[in-house]
């Protein structure tokens, strides 16, 4: 287990590696309904969150999908 530094919505954050996107969501107590995640500017589909691990320096973007028009 090592500590790594990542950026979540441009805010630096220290987390214990290994950590998956699903674990990051749980750690931050984020509402996962309607949430989309990008790792280094590429969207990660939700079924892959639990098997996608974060690396030191990764940029994670968390945003809520909208559908209104």
């Amino acid at each position: 287990m090592t500590q790594i530094n990542i950026f979540v919505n441009d805010t630096p954050m220290s987390v214990i590696s290994p950590i998956s996107i699903a674990e990051l969501i749980a750690l931050n107590q984020l509402d996962d309904i309607g949430t989309a995640i990008a790792q280094n500017h590429t969207i990660v589909s939700r079924p892959d969150w639990s098997k996608t691990y974060l690396n030191s320096g990764d940029k994670v973007d968390v945003f809520t999908l909208v559908a209104g028009g």
Partner: protein, 248 residues
């Protein structure tokens, strides 16, 4: 060859390297289908008709309601209670009588979508529910139609341009099949200009595509997220998901 009146009418866009005379002639030969005539569709349609898109089909079964006037800038109090497709068609004919505009006063669904988009060069998804958006994505994917999607809620707007079978780019279902979207204009509200920004983006992308076709520098599969309150815009690659039931 453009006539002198066409050159006068379209002079501002003819000057652009992204359009020029050849691009404008392509625009004038095009057919765009706009599905949903609320804050997105009514404004995007105004720009496309103004720009001289040859054929525009307007699709919506809804009527103009007083709560629409805060953001749906093409309607006014005279249109209250009128079918949006009919009201918009009448207004847009005053803007540019040379455009062949058709109004379909129906809601898009699984059964009618293949027919609605059949002859389109591109489709604009301007609807407001995830369920219909998924149907439009699916219909456009199987009919190989370029699809320009935009959405807005609160002070956020989002958009993505999709071209079926474009290398590694995903589709709307890649993103939404496993995600439940809670927000929409009804539950969250939306600021008028924010949905307008989304519509302007959508119309811009469609015009650039119609002018130069496959030679246009369109960012296919790039998902745009704009927070208008924070003045931030982020762009993400929407890649093909192996779990997608539409494009896999």
């Amino acid at each position: 060859m453009l006539s002198s009146s066409e050159i006068r009418r379209y002079s501002r866009q003819l000057m652009l390297p992204q359009i020029e005379e050849e691009g404008h002639e392509n625009i004038a030969k095009s057919h765009v289908v706009i599905i949903g005539l609320g804050g997105l569709g009514s404004l995007a349609a105004r720009f496309l008709v103004g720009a001289g898109v040859g054929n525009v089909t307007l699709v919506d079964g809804d009527i103009v309601n007083i709560s629409n006037l805060q953001r749906q800038v093409t309607y006014n109090e005279m249109h209250l209670g009128e079918l949006k497709a009919k009201a918009l068609l009448n207004e847009l004919r005053k803007v540019n009588p040379s455009v062949n505009i058709k109004g379909k006063c129906i809601y898009a669904d699984r059964d009618n979508l293949p027919c609605i988009i059949q002859s389109a060069h591109c489709v604009l998804d301007c609807t407001d529910t995830l369920a219909v958006r998924k149907l439009i994505n699916q219909a456009c994917f199987f009919a190989h139609k370029p699809l320009f999607i935009a959405a807005a809620s609160g002070c956020t707007w989002q958009a993505v341009n999709l071209l079926p079978n474009q290398s590694n780019a995903g589709c709307y279902a890649c993103l939404t099949n496993t995600i439940e979207v809670r927000e929409d204009c009804v539950t969250q509200g939306v600021l008028g200009p924010v949905v307008g920004m989304a519509a302007c983006h959508q119309a811009t992308q469609a015009l650039l595509f119609l002018a130069k076709g496959n030679n246009a520098d369109i960012k296919w599969g790039q998902y745009i997220h704009c927070d208008a309150a924070q003045s931030t815009i982020r762009a993400f690659a929407l890649t093909r998901s192996i779990h997608c039931k539409v494009c896999q």
